[in-house]
């Protein structure tokens, strides 16, 4: 159980890093949102689930799993709301050949 938790935390940290690099490297808002939304959701879920595995079967780990499920539901919702705000404001997207 402990090694499973460590593996999950390592995977989550990897996804956090990938998302952060995508957030600073991608050219326009929509691609940045693509990187940030998904990598962050999965990274947070994996790290929290790994910590719940480390703690064993207690009330605290049950709460951690609840927080993980909360992140899993709310993070895509927030990303969707932000994407709709960007679309309604007619923010232009990047096409090949544009300045980065």
């Amino acid at each position: 159980m402990t090694s499973l938790g460590f593996g999950l935390i390592a995977c989550g940290v990897f996804f956090f890093f990938t998302g952060a690099i995508g957030l600073i490297r991608f050219p326009d808002l929509y691609t940045r949102m693509h990187a940030a939304g998904k990598c962050d959701t999965l990274g947070g879920f994996l790290v929290l689930t790994g910590l719940a595995c480390l703690g064993g079967l207690t009330l605290a780990s049950l709460k951690i799993v609840m927080v993980a499920l909360f992140v899993l539901i709310t993070s895509p919702t927030a990303t969707h709301a932000i994407a709709r705000a960007a679309k309604r404001n007619d923010i232009a997207w990047w096409t090949r050949g544009d300045q980065r």
């Binding site: 935390i9 709460k63 909360f70 992140v71 927030a78 990303t79 709709r84 705000a85 309604r88 923010i91």
Partner: protein
């Protein structure tokens, strides 16, 4: 070994927060800054629970993390709904030049 691993992963996540902070500071539009703040909030939840595990007091820190998740979600939704109104960004652009 376990606490060293937890400390290392917490520091790695904090470094990722630093990378995301670049987007918050230099984002071309307001929406970019909102995305960066949302990402930092999600990472902070993970760091809070990691800190609780490091100090051996998860049962206290998890409530803080839950509250932080709620505030992060509601704050992001409020900002997104505010800037969803057509023209808010254009008005700001005119005001700041």
């Amino acid at each position: 070994m376990p606490s060293a691993f937890l400390l290392a992963s917490a520091l790695a996540i904090l470094f990722a927060v630093l990378l995301s902070l670049y987007r918050v500071i230099s984002g071309p539009t307001i929406i970019d800054r909102i995305i960066g703040a949302n990402v930092i909030g999600t990472k902070t939840i993970a760091v809070i629970v990691l800190t609780g595990q490091l100090f051996g007091r998860v049962e206290f820190f998890i409530d803080v993390a839950l509250l932080y998740a709620l505030i992060n979600f509601i704050g992001t939704l409020a900002l997104a709904r505010y800037f969803e109104r057509k023209g808010v960004l254009a008005e700001r652009k005119q005001a700041t030049g």
